[in-house]
Amino acid sequence: MSRLGLSPPATLARSLGSDGVVPEERLGNFSIDGVVPRLAFCPTYRHEIVETVGWAAAEGLAVVPRGGGTQMELGNVPARYDVALDLSRFNGVLDYQPADLTATVEAGITLHELQRHLASGGKTLPLEAPLSSNATIGGILSTGASGPMRAAYGLPRDWLIGISVVGGSGTETKSGGKVVKNVTGYDLGKLYTGSMGTLGIIVEATFKLNPLPQRLQALTAGFPSIALAVEAANSLSGQVYAPQGIQVVDGASWLGLPADLSDVVSEKDEPVPGQAVLVAFVSGRVRAVERRLSEGADFLRMNEASSVRKLDEAGGRKLLGWVTDLGWERDSGHWLVLKLAVPPSMTSQALSVLPRALEGLPEPGTVADPGFGLVRLMWQQGSLDTTVDGHASVIVGAVGRARALARSLGGYVVVERAPLTVKRLTDVWGGEPAGAEIMRRIKENLDPAGILNPGRFSGGI
């Protein structure tokens, strides 16, 4: 019996072994929003996950699954948190059929490791996710995380073809299979993707794959303002030779490029804060990549870009990683991150009126995906004084105004990262989504005991 008055059943404890149960003094590593679990397990085998959830369901213990821990801040403050289930050791590749372009993996494998494995057979999962060396497939599916090429290649939901989860009653169930086309029964994979671990603990996933692109390169172009960069991005994305991913990064954030990258992408004429950089990623066959790069570069030059650079494969990949991670880096001190999502055509309008909504806050770092209608706004630690009384309500007020603005444009705002003082005052998801009643019924029906990640999701789920 632990100090916290809770211990796993003997058979489960035996199976987990001493290194599968996290010692009490390390439980703090698993805290979420200051809430420390009473136990934490690192299972290696599927049956351990099944048994843990079965036991938790019987005892009414709240279980919070965890992959690489890269996005644990995402979500409301946990309503209850008894057991942390760290799936990072449950990380095998179960099946890889390069010729069928499919792969089945355990949930704890990192995206990076999976891509490495797939590359050995000449294939890839055409998805990016923040911190891919740590982010696990289970976590990426649960959060629906995506990267700069999302407008062209889609989201995790688009590549998932089969899934197994351990539901709230401790039973493993599957949906889909291992073939690329399948409509047998309901597509529950869509439901689990983005469900933040509230409906089931994802244990296994099968993806369809793409051939590895022969080339991946990037273009960068400086612009006098974010608005002009977004405008250029919009018109570039309408060209036949459009790059597969176009992002706009504000000048100040651009200055945060690590040295090895900034050497590649800038000279004396590098942009300064207030300006912006358009970053475009291009992948595919060599000749097509070259055409996209050269016509894309010409197009940008004709559209007010001040400096246009082509990056080779190594530089392009590095930049892709950097842009994907922007706002998620653990040590960057980004402590307030808002995600604004609107219909793509509304991106520039949103960006132009946001400053008014965010009055009272310092200027944020910005990364926008105009083709997808996504904007991330990031504030560094120290850019706003959290010791001042009432700082949280200033932020919450600004978030509220940003939400009203997003709603008027057909979108919404998610508070992806925020100090606890702020999270306590607002629903990070922005209140009841459309269909909330159906969502609540789904939650009740798949997790009747309410033990899976309770309280963290949208609509009080």
Partner: protein, 506 residues
């Protein structure tokens, strides 16, 4: 009232006979509950848009499958509001409801539950908006797939999912079945293109799922709705994603002496790291059928034809095209042709597009089985299908989406022959078992519906299906929408006696 109407609970009874009883009951317009119910329906949609006389209902008894069932009444609403009121009325009276698009479904999805009301969307067929800035189109559910595609071409866009039935099938049906098509190999099926919809639930309440924003907060309800076969709700307005038209398109036709070598070519293409926009196969029997009705100039001894389409930038299409041609030649074809001009490409596609229709020249009926195998196992699986054909003495024609392993063996028969229907159903089930044993799926794009519900345990455990039912119960707690589909319950809707007149059963 409710007791009179809710027949679907009774298992192992002749649904067909009971449906007739209900139908006469309604049509007699006897004073009473049924007549009052019909009056209320008429008050909502207008007198001329409620059908209940048996002769008016006959065309609604079918879809493209071999199952049949006569609805109690058919209503043709024109707006979400009318749909909402019809649903609320049926809910109050305990009458089950099924939506009907164009009735081209091949798994019995649109077959009415006995005594049920069928809502036909043939009057809700307007393209409401094409939003080029957001690259979306918003349509009513009765819009025909090809009409939408043709319409958006004018703006330089396309709607990518292209079921072979695209001249007839509706967007509402496409969403319900998560339909695929030749070009889904590269672009994904319906689910990858639906952004949002307005849905009427069983109790008549209206909810919006998804939206124009590419992601929406909360669970992905529009994702799980897509492919729910009309059991979650009725989609009354649908927003889909459009893709820009490609710069270049090139079509390749490879003629092979036999199916084995054509399968080798499929593996060779995919093995070269090429995912074409489309990769389709037509076997010898289908070729013969096509040649019966149109001359496509295929060699007499053609054993299989592959159609491959590449799309993209000129450079990509050229470069990959050289590799595709090489991969085709490696596999021993007797002929390879290419086409870039739209009209030439059309000619190459004609055989594929006309194949199903042409099967009528070989037999009065066919039963099209939809199964999926891993694409590397096509050769083995097609050999097994040939063995089944031999064992049952049933000619089987194959016309299918080879690139993603989605088989469509068409079992030819004559329904007038006693026992023929039973035999082909049995042989069809064997085909599906072969697919599943190879690691494949029970259905790739046509859905489970009535056709395959008893086979669901081949792929899913009771627990798997329980989780699915729980999700359905979250949308439709009273299971009033298209009840009796998808999950095994021991019932079937095959009519005890088939109509004598010849004609295709699809």
């Amino acid at each position: 009232m409710a007791r009179l109407l809710v027949y679907y609970h009774a298992k192992f009874l002749s649904y067909f006979r009971r449906a007739w009883e209900w139908c006469f009951l309604v049509s007699s317009l006897a004073p009473g509950a049924a007549a009052r119910f019909l009056d209320e329906l008429k008050a909502i949609v207008g007198e001329e848009y409620v059908y209940y006389h048996p002769e008016d209902l006959l065309v609604y008894e079918y879809d493209g499958s071999i199952d049949r069932g006569l609805p109690g009444a058919v209503v043709l609403p024109i707006s979400t509001d009318e749909v909402r009121r019809v649903m609320a009325l049926c809910y109050r009276e305990g009458v089950p409801v099924v939506g009907r698009g164009s009735g081209t479904g091949l798994s019995g999805g649109a077959i009415a539950p006995p005594g049920g009301v069928q809502i036909s969307f043939s009057r809700m067929d307007r393209i409401l908006e094409v939003d080029t800035e957001n690259r979306t189109a918003t349509v009513e559910p009765g819009v025909i797939n090809l009409d939408l595609d043709n319409h958006v071409h004018k703006f330089g866009y396309r709607y990518a999912p292209d079921p072979s039935s695209q001249k007839a099938c509706s967007l509402g049906g496409n969403i319900a079945e998560n339909s695929g098509g030749p070009h889904c190999l590269a672009y994904g099926c319906t689910t990858n293109h639906v952004l949002g919809m307005e849905v009427v639930l069983e109790d008549g309440s209206v909810v919006n799922l998804g939206g124009t924003a590419r992601e929406t907060p909360g669970y992905d309800l529009r994702g799980v709705f897509t492919g729910s076969e009309g059991t979650f709700g009725i989609a009354t307005c649908i927003t889909v994603r459009l893709l820009p038209l490609p710069e270049a398109v090139k079509t390749f036709m490879g003629v092979f002496p036999d199916v084995d070598s054509a399968c080798t070519a499929v593996s060779a293409v995919i093995g070269h790291g090429i995912v074409p926009a489309a990769l389709e196969m037509i076997d010898a029997l289908s070729i013969r059928a096509v040649q019966n009705v149109m001359d496509l100039g295929y060699p007499e001894d053609a054993g299989a034809v592959l159609l491959i389409e590449l799309e993209g930038l000129q450079e990509e299409v050229e470069e990959i095209g050289i590799e595709v041609e090489a991969a085709l030649w490696e596999s021993g074809p007797t002929l390879v042709r290419t086409a870039e001009e739209a009209s030439d490409r059309e000619r190459l596609w004609a055989g594929r597009k006309g194949a199903l229709g042409a099967l009528g020249s070989l037999a009065p009926n066919y039963y099209l089985v939809d199964g999926v195998a891993p694409r590397t196992k096509l050769t083995e699986v097609l050999r097994e299908v040939a063995a089944i054909s031999e064992r049952y003495s049933i000619p089987i024609a194959n016309v299918f989406h080879a690139g993603d392993g989605n088989l469509h063996p068409c079992l030819l028969f004559d329904e007038r022959q006693p026992g023929a229907l039973e035999t082909i159903i049995e042989a069809g089930a064997e085909v599906m078992k072969v697919c599943i044993d190879a690691g494949g799926a029970l259905t790739g794009e046509h859905g489970v519906g009535l056709e395959k519900k008893e086979l669901m345990p081949l792929v899913y455990t009771d627990e798997d299906m329980d989780a699915m039912r729980r999700v359905r119960d979250s949308f439709a707690p009273h299971n009033r929408l298209n009840p009796g589909k998808i999950f095994p319950d021991g019932t079937h809707y095959h009519p005890p006696a088939r109509r004598p007149e010849p004609g295709l059963s699809i």
